[in-house]
């Protein structure tokens, strides 16, 4: 599945109401580590249909960033049934992100 760009208008539909788990990637264009992470997330997304990955630009979507207390990026937040179940801040290798998704 491809990464879905999410803003405050489609956040509820894509994340909160999603039937499958959602990994939300909070990022910004000026953030080098975020840009490094993106191709890794693209790869993970293309390998899985059992969850989806969404991208949220914190400069455009500061309301969402504030609502979810994102104050350092890259920040990955995992949602299940609309609730946050885990998060990870900073650049992480692919295997750690897969563990985060496979865990619990």
């Amino acid at each position: 599945m491809q990464i879905v760009e999410v803003d405050k208008n489609n956040f509820k539909e894509e994340v909160i109401d999603s039937k499958i788990p959602v990994l939300a990637d909070f990022n910004a264009d000026w953030c080098g580590p975020c840009r490094m992470l993106r191709p890794v997330l693209d790869e993970i997304a293309s390998e899985h249909d059992d969850f989806k990955i969404v991208s949220i630009n914190i400069d455009d979507e500061d309301e969402l960033a504030r609502e979810y207390f994102v104050s350092s990026i890259p920040c990955l937040v995992l949602f299940k049934n609309g609730e946050e179940t885990s998060r990870s801040v900073g650049l992480r290798p692919k295997s750690e992100i897969e563990n985060m998704l496979g865990g619990e």
Partner: protein, 300 residues
């Protein structure tokens, strides 16, 4: 079996890969996180020869593509251990590889203060590199934490750019060179805060204030836009310190020729014992280490 295994895909490791591939050697680069190393964290590099004003991300990506296009193999695996011998072994989180020679290019990381919200203020007031980020604080008030040469040099450097520099040190004497201390004392806009530690970082979207606590427990607050943390670096040496010699700060000992104490094992970049840790010296080491490794292989 590889000719050269390079550990770390930062500027030093990737430059080694370029040189080794241009000599047609079979090269594997192992990286635990992402290519580029520390430099991906900076918005703009201003001091790399002939490339003014390039972002850290672009620098890293161009370097990575250059090495890949020349045929370097890169795998994203963390190296856990290396073994010496005529054939050298490299154990990663996933596999064991063999090579005729190894280049260690694992770099170093900043020592943090260890405050709760430190990470969240990185690039929003917290910096670990005055020469990289100082220019963003022109005319503002900043503080430097530390007592070694880096802290003194950072404070001197910043004093020419910013409005006020507070230099915060946990003792009443500096470890760094006296000449720098004397220069700092002549600067009107440098204020010393001795026997004190930064104990809290305060700010909404970015750093606004820092709480200072003296060794007696007295607390005060300073208003600052930037806090430069210069309390040392930690080299990544865990996987090799049993094999190669390291100095008292953990850096792998080698002179400009990049030879470690073990024949066939070379070291390049920030993880090497040296004075100047910059991109240009990392690239320089990379070229030298690769050239020495090639010589070593050809003589075997």
């Amino acid at each position: 079996m590889y000719d050269i295994i390079i550990i770390g895909a930062g500027p030093a490791g990737l430059t080694s890969a370029i040189y080794a591939r241009r000599a047609m050697k079979k090269v594997l680069v192992l990286e635990k996180l992402s290519y580029g190393g520390q430099i991906i964290n900076t918005l703009s590099i201003e001091n790399y020869p002939a490339s003014p004003n390039i972002s850290g991300f672009d620098f890293a990506t161009r370097l990575y593509n250059q090495a890949k296009d020349l045929g370097a193999e890169v795998k994203f695996e963390e190296v856990l251990k290396i073994g010496d011998g005529d054939i050298k072994k490299v154990v990663t989180s996933k596999n064991t590889y063999e090579a005729k020679s190894i280049i260690l290019a694992t770099g170093s990381q900043n020592r943090k203060l260890g405050l709760e919200n430190e990470d969240s203020f990185i690039s929003k007031g917290i910096s670990y590199c005055a020469t990289c980020d100082g220019a963003f604080y022109k005319g503002k008030d900043v503080a430097v934490v530390g007592g070694g040469n880096t802290a003194l040099e950072d404070a001197l450097y910043l004093s020419d750019i910013v409005n006020t520099v507070y230099l915060i040190h946990r003792r009443d004497e500096f470890r760094g060179e006296e000449a720098s201390v004397n220069k700092l004392k002549l600067k009107e806009n440098v204020k010393f805060i001795f026997n004190s530690n930064v104990t809290k970082l305060i700010g909404k979207d970015k750093l606004e204030k820092a709480e200072i606590t003296t060794n007696n427990g007295d607390k005060s607050t300073i208003l600052i836009d930037g806090l430069f943390i210069a309390i040392g670096r930690i080299p990544f040496n865990d996987s090799f310190k049993d094999i190669v010699n390291i100095d008292q700060n953990g850096y792998i000992i080698a002179t400009e020729d990049c030879h470690t104490n073990i024949p066939g094992i070379f070291v390049a970049g920030d993880v090497r014992s040296k004075e100047v840790r910059q991109l240009v010296t990392a690239a320089s080491d990379g070229a030298i280490a690769a050239t020495e490794a090639i010589k070593f292989i050809n003589n075997e």
